[in-house]
Assembly symmetry: C2
Homo-oligomer: 197 residues x 2
């Protein structure tokens, strides 16, 4: 995918794992959405983008610069946690701050984690993990501004990426910022069984 | 002050309490800066706006819409906590998320609180109070997305405004969103001795 296309172009219909991306409709850091999306699509992984009401996502770069719209595939209410093999939570400060107030978003994060499927969150998205009480006893990273919130929620914060933690039978993949997107994407692909990612 | 002027216009030189506003250089919710500023200026209170390096503030409305620049008066390094009679922390998601990473900003918040002067924070700015470990054992409000972070930091969160808490010998004034600006401003003025505010 180039920057002139959108994640929904050339949708793969492969069978195999289904990876759902979940964001708010605004304030989504574009490269943290499109980077992992492109990496998964290139590996033939089936992907869907969900937003609270299925609305198009207004992305940003550096939190405040408009970076174009990305169409969503699904409304949150239409996502069945049992059909999610891995959940990806892209960052963006306003995105993550907005999404953590959506009770259905927090419920989906919890349901996916409870099913045993990995939850991957980058940059400010670990606030969703805090809101879902999933970081307690876990090794986690995030954008550094969340360090105190993650620590206060019972997590152990690391300045490293990707951080993959399987403690307690739930798998979290976390990363710090857009520069970590390649490592974040590779960790996701490895969890999906693409060992040579 | 109208929306076509800036907070530094018509600076008062009154003696009396000195109120310092502290923000990052971007992502500041305009009405949460200009609203309390105008209310204090109208009451003849001496005010200064400090940013990490004294740079002009790029304000926003609704977190993402550009809402004009506001010049700062001081760099953070030039603020003497002993000369601050009350510290105001305006909101804006990106502002607060940025400022909590500035060690000198967190140090100033702590120093002002330790001096016995009130610290007033609205909307997302209570993240600075979390980062400064000032909410432990206190009654606090904020934008609702911070509720979990405030609670995990040891505060008791209230859906009310203004919340004025003097427990532990440190005074915090908190409010939830731009709609609370009049009540937030009145509480600040009352703490400064303007009982009829």
């Amino acid at each position: 995918m180039t920057t002139s296309t959108t994640p929904t172009d050339d949708r793969s219909t492969d069978a195999g794992p289904h990876v759902v991306f979940l964001t708010a409709a605004k304030g989504v850091e574009r490269s943290e959405l499109t980077g992992p999306w492109e990496a998964l699509r290139a590996a033939g992984v089936r992907t869907s983008l969900a937003t609270p009401d299925g609305a198009t996502v207004a992305t940003v770069e550096g939190d405040l610069e408009p970076a174009g719209d990305v169409p969503a595939d699904l409304a949150l209410a239409d996502v069945d946690a049992a059909d999610v093999d891995l959940l990806v939570l892209p960052g963006g400060t306003v995105n993550a701050d907005t999404l953590r107030l959506e009770a259905d978003a927090v419920a989906l994060v919890r349901a996916v984690a409870a099913s045993g499927a990995p939850v991957a969150a980058i940059c400010h998205a670990p606030w969703l993990l805090v809101e879902s009480d999933l970081v307690r006893g876990k090794d986690v990273t995030s954008y550094p501004s969340l360090r105190t919130d993650v620590t206060n929620a019972g997590g152990t914060w690391h300045d490293d990426a990707p951080v993959v933690c399987r403690k307690g039978g739930r798998t979290l993949v976390t990363a710090r910022n857009p520069d970590d997107v390649p490592a974040f994407s590779a960790a996701i692909l490895e969890l999906l069984g693409h060992r040579d990612a």
